[in-house]
Amino acid sequence: MSQKQDLYGVLAEFSSASEIYHACEKVRDKGFTHWDAHTPFPVHGLEKAMGLKPSKIPWIVLALGLSGATGGMTLQWWINTQAYPLVISGKPYFSWQAFVPVTFELGVLLGAFGAVFGMLFLNRLPMWYHSLFRSQRFERVTDDKFFISIEARDPKFDATATSKMLTELGATHVELVEQ
């Protein structure tokens, strides 16, 4: 059984977006949980075929964007009323209207950080080593080939049966990938 421990999973190659779409529907219906589809571009609606939940990114952006804006306004309030109160053009120390542009910019800045770094965090990137990179054929995932990977740790995984299933789903090539 040592083979099972060294095995990352099985990688199946498909040659078109519609083939992988239908294959994903079947894999989803069989109840696999630790599996993924790999495509050269985002295939429209594939998340439905895979049964994935919507992304959590918007919440991260909202939280960071609001803290950016709040932080920006607080910074300007503190500087103009506490740290360095100075009468400028006879205006009140805290004339919030003049502080809107900087508040807005800081909200956008932190929101954008949330979108980019939140996306990388949720995707566990950067991850420069991954077992799938062992496969030579997998290099074409960024060109014109479509792949389904099913991990060995999936409770329903069985090296022979799962490979056979993927071939039946129309995979043009199926291989086992080591850890």
Binding site: S16, A17, S18, I20, Y21, D36, A37, H38, T39, P40, F41, P42, V43, H44, G45, L46, M50, L52, P54, S55, I57, P58, V61, L75, I79, N80, A83, Y84, L86, I88, S89, K91, S95, A98, F99, P101, V102, F104, L106, V108, L109, G111, A112, A115, V116, G118, M119, L120, L122, N123, L125, P126, W128, Y129, H130, L132, T142, D143, D144, F147
Partner: protein, 467 residues
């Protein structure tokens, strides 16, 4: 053959969308086309351009070093005109950047799929133009060694910047704009750098692999990725409008006749998009020709951009007319005087250059034959950028050179250092742009694939193709 393909792409038909990718390109041939500049032996033309650009960069470095050594007196500034080419160049370069964000963010939100072939190069243009822009306010402050006073950094003098000043808003707006544009660009690049990683070997594979962050096309990743990209577009849209609005506040919130106008924010934003699209056309015509991208960057793309230039150029022309109307209608003699002086005074030559290049020449784009002729597009776009540089020069210098007190009137003349710094900034821009087109994907590979028929998962289910 080429003309018939081009025409097919330009036709407007009710029952069928025009194809965005021409020829019989497949997913893998699109990858090949975009990867070609990275894989081909460096063309001699690239080296010649690169050496020219590097010389320009050297001129910029020399001019700035001399400026730092001697002080801002090396520019042609005088007692009246304290802002001239420095701020003109700043606004000029920031404005050019705006078209890139319009293409990458606003057209994305409006689902304008034709943007996919040109958005990468336009975003790169944005970033490099903003780098050029950031130099000018940085070096014009006089005592550059205390330029960090622009930022709210705690210091031993317990002193803080004035948050009521539009000049400080500018610091926040332009630096946020630069940061967000760079992040947006990088996020778009990740899958395409992964493509380059998988096609190259040795050191290149390592370097591309480093920046691809281990991207493996996982759909669980694409899901977060697409959502993040959409949100970045949604954040960049108000951001880009705010940036040029705030740049225009630098003038509009002052009480100087010729600057103090509520029309400035929309007028500046339209002008920025106007000049930026002209620059995109110039750059894309050359890239398309050199790297044979005819099937990806089609005549339809150029025609669409020409239409945007026509629209924004007309908005700019309307704004010029409205400025004159308001000057007259306000009944303010100083405001009236400054506008009459713009058109008839010592800077009338600059004013009429601006009107010719920005208002008259772009109207040629009403004619379809001109909109779809690459030579005409290229030449008119050059005129637009000349005109838009003069617009900023006219606004800044004509308003400053004659004040309320006639005894202090003065005429501004640029020195050799003014000119060399401006030319040098083009050297910086083209150095960066040439490096970009040599080593990075100039077309968004993954995104172009999504607009091809092969990308539709129901392509084979319904051969008739309802859409």
């Amino acid at each position: 053959m080429e003309t018939s393909v081009t025409l097919a792409n330009l036709e407007e038909r009710v029952d069928k969308r025009a194809p965005l990718v021409l020829g019989r390109e497949t997913l893998s041939s699109v990858t090949d086309i975009v990867a070609r500049p990275m894989e081909m032996a460096t063309p001699n033309a690239w080296w010649i351009c690169f050496l020219l650009a590097l010389s320009g960069l050297g001129i910029l470095g020399g001019s700035i070093a001399y400026l730092f050594w001697e002080g801002v007196g090396v520019w042609g500034l005088n007692n009246r005109v304290g802002w001239a080419w420095d701020i003109t160049n700043f606004v000029f370069w920031v404005g050019i950047g705006h078209a890139g964000t319009l293409i990458s963010a606003i057209l994305f939100l409006f689902r304008q799929k034709w943007r996919t072939s040109i958005n990468r190069a336009a975003e790169a243009m944005t970033i490099f133009a903003v780098i050029c822009a950031l130099i000018f306010p940085g070096i014009h402050v006089g005592r550059v060694w205390v330029a960090y006073w622009l930022f709210p950094i705690p210091n031993q003098m317990a002193m803080w910047p004035n948050f009521r000043s539009p000049l400080l808003w500018d610091v926040f707006a332009v630096s946020t704009y630069f940061t967000v544009s760079t992040l947006f660009w990088f996020v778009g690049l990740i899958p395409d750098i992964a493509t380059f990683r998988d096609r190259s070997k040795g050191v290149r594979k390592f370097v591309y692999g480093l920046f691809a962050l281990g991207w493996r096309g996982s759909h669980r990743h694409w899901l977060n990725y697409e959502r993040a990209y959409l949100i970045l577009a949604a954040l960049s849209t108000p951001l880009v409008l705010s940036v040029h609005t705030i740049v225009s506040f630098d003038f509009a919130t002052s009480q100087l006749p010729g600057w103090h106008a509520t029309i400035f924010p929309p007028y500046f934003v339209a002008g920025a998009i106007f000049s930026g699209f002209a620059m995109v056309i110039n750059l894309m015509i050359i890239c398309r020709w050199v790297f044979k991208l005819e099937h990806l960057v089609t005549m339809r793309h150029f025609e669409n951009m020409a239409k945007i230039i026509l629209l924004t150029g007309s908005i700019v022309g309307y704004a010029y007319a409205m400025e004159f109307f308001i000057a007259w209608y306000s009944g303010n003699p100083y405001e009236r005087y400054i506008f009459v002086s713009r058109a008839t005074g010592p800077y009338a030559w600059a004013y009429w250059t601006m009107i010719t290049c920005n208002v008259v020449i772009p109207q040629l784009f009403w004619v379809r034959k001109i909109r779809t002729n690459l030579w005409a597009l290229f030449i008119i776009s050059v005129f637009v950028n000349i005109g838009m540089w003069f617009e900023r020069f006219v606004i800044i210098v004509t308003s400053l050179h004659r004040t309320f007190l006639p005894s202090s009137w003065a005429y501004f003349r640029p020195t050799i250092i003014d000119i060399s710094t401006f030319i040098g900034s083009f050297g910086l821009f083209f150095t960066l742009f040439l490096l970009f087109i040599r080593f990075l994907p100039i077309v968004a590979i993954a995104e172009v694939k999504t607009v091809m028929p092969e990308a539709d998962p129901h392509n084979h289910d319904n051969k008739e193709g309802a859409h």
